[in-house]
């Protein structure tokens, strides 16, 4: 799964949560410092990412998402996917 594919999924999920993603990029922070995605929307985004990619965020990580950038979240997801992909082979 490429970085771009993960980002495309995040933007699609945010659009479904009624957020305009046209001005978001890898450097956009999710929280008030950037896209200002509110806490329940972030919680829902985390659930959708977990469901789509089979990764798990613990509660503390989910709380930290507001401080992350789009690029950082994509990298975190990609990193967690790596061992799973290896195991698959």
């Amino acid at each position: 799964m490429s970085h771009e594919e993960i980002r495309a999924f995040l933007f699609k999920a945010l659009s479904r949560l009624n957020y305009d993603t046209s001005r978001m990029d890898d450097d956009t922070v999710f929280g008030p410092a950037g896209a200002d995605v509110e806490s329940l929307a972030l919680a829902e985004l985390a659930v959708r990412v977990e469901d789509e990619f089979g990764v798990v965020f613990d509660d503390e990580e989910a709380e930290m998402m507001a401080a992350m950038t789009v690029g950082e979240l994509c990298a975190t997801v990609a990193e967690r996917l790596q061992p799973a992909s290896t195991q698959g082979h």
């Binding site: 479904r16 949560l17 009624n18 957020y19 329940l40 929307a41 919680a43 829902e44 959708r48 469901d51």
Partner: protein
């Protein structure tokens, strides 16, 4: 403090704004005119509706875009009851011309908005969980459907920071919100109260439980406008409807201070319980009769001073007959002129109390009593002075609105002429 004492002490309670969402219009005048013209909002369930096949007829309110009343980020999961009551609140506050923070201290403003809750949203989430497991359930479910979320969303949108609550007394909840609002103003807890109710009952599980309880009108598919017929010999069940209503209540002295005109005063109210059955009214009507007596006592007036009663009148045989008996008992065998709004709106559950209070206010102010639509042949067991076949002209000083709910809840509210210096033209 009683209504009579409130008047003496200068803390009388005035209605200064009204907003409605119903199948026959979005203003008090719209509902009143529909009654006077015999124009029903009840329609056959549209062919493309999810309830086609299970709901014969209903009172469908106009569609409202959730994004028009809430920020887009908050409309991902939000129940229609919240959307309708937000619209009614916007209209009521604009009608009153009151701006929280400019005209009234936010901490002296209260919000009492009731509902059965967004059960259709809960149903949808249960189905999503069934289909997709845990990831199917949205974290937005609770803010989208809890029964106090009308109060919450209105508080956030308008910056209302005083007393807030949501009352769960089923079909009495709208009238109950008016009563609680009046109490808050009389007791000096607030200067302005935004009160009301929203109900969105059109989803399969709720419709089916009403159907299985044999509570819905049936056999009217070809003639939907005739389905809701309170007190008529052919009444055979209620017509489910959706809607919302919000009033702005204000201490009359506060309204005078900002030069606002009042529609009518809330001069008395009361609540009792039948203590009889969870769903069925006491056929002897004693709880409802005592509720009306207590409301009159609260207003400090006698039965003969009531010139009009807007009945709960659900169009169920048991409910109509019990209410007719209760009215005769409360008024000492005499019947004031009576009519029922649900004949044109259908039964908007708790929100009905708001539309009916609005009609009661207009009847009082216009000196025009609206008739009960479809009351062609009164049920002999519902002997009352029915206003039917057309409106009746009558200059009256006081009028009473009844609301009764599952759970045995009874609420009666008495309205009188406005005590504000300025009176709203109606």
């Amino acid at each position: 403090m009683s209504g009579a004492a409130a008047l003496m002490s200068g803390t009388s309670v005035c209605v200064t704004g009204m907003g409605l969402v119903t199948s026959v219009g979005t203003t008090a005048a719209g509902v009143m005119d529909a009654m006077c013209e015999g124009r029903s909002g009840v329609a056959a369930t549209p062919p493309d509706h999810p309830l086609t096949g299970s709901l014969e007829v209903g009172g469908f309110a106009p569609p409202i875009d959730p994004d028009s009343v809430l920020p887009r980020s908050e409309t991902v999961v939000v129940d229609r009851y919240v959307v309708m009551v937000m619209q009614a609140a916007e209209d009521a506050l604009a009608d009153a011309g009151v701006v929280v923070g400019r005209d009234v201290d936010p901490f002296r403003t209260a919000v009492v908005i009731s509902s059965t809750g967004g059960l259709s949203t809960l149903e949808a989430q249960v189905l999503a969980r069934e289909a997709r497991g845990r990831p199917g359930v949205s974290p937005y479910m609770l803010p989208g459907m809890l029964p106090n979320m009308g109060a919450c969303r209105i508080a956030i949108k308008y910056g209302i920071r005083g007393y807030s609550s949501a009352i769960a007394t089923a079909c009495a909840a709208g009238a109950h919100s008016i009563g609680e609002g009046a109490r808050l103003l009389r007791d000096g807890v607030a200067d302005v109260v935004v009160c009301g109710c929203g109900e969105a009952p059109f989803f399969p599980t709720l419709v089916d439980t009403f159907r299985n309880a044999r509570a819905l009108a049936h056999g009217w598919k070809a003639e939907p406008g005739a389905a809701s017929r309170p007190f008529d010999r052919r009444h055979n069940g209620m017509v489910l409807a959706e809607g919302a209503g919000v009033f702005v209540l204000e201490r009359a002295a506060h309204a005078d201070g900002r030069g606002a005109a009042g529609y009518a005063d809330v001069v008395g109210w009361a609540a009792t319980n039948d203590a009889h059955h969870p769903l069925m009214p006491d056929p002897e009507g004693e709880g409802a009769a005592q509720c009306m007596r207590l409301a009159l006592a609260d207003a400090g007036i006698g039965p003969r001073e009531i010139g009009y009663v807007n009945a709960h009148g659900t169009s169920t045989k048991l409910g109509d007959q019990a209410e007719a008996l209760a009215i005769r008992k409360a008024f000492g065998g005499y019947s004031p002129p009576v009519s029922a709004t649900k004949a044109v709106t259908g039964h908007m559950l708790g929100a009905s109390g708001m539309a009916e209070a609005a009609v009661t206010v207009l009847a009082l102010r216009r000196g025009l009593l609206p008739p009960t639509h479809n009351l062609d042949d009164p049920d002999p067991a519902c002997e009352l002075d029915h206003v039917r076949k057309g409106p009746r002209r009558a200059e009256i000083t006081h009028a009473l609105s009844n609301s009764f709910g599952f759970g045995g809840h009874n609420v009666s509210v008495v309205f009188g002429r406005p005590s504000t210096r300025l009176a709203r033209q109606v």
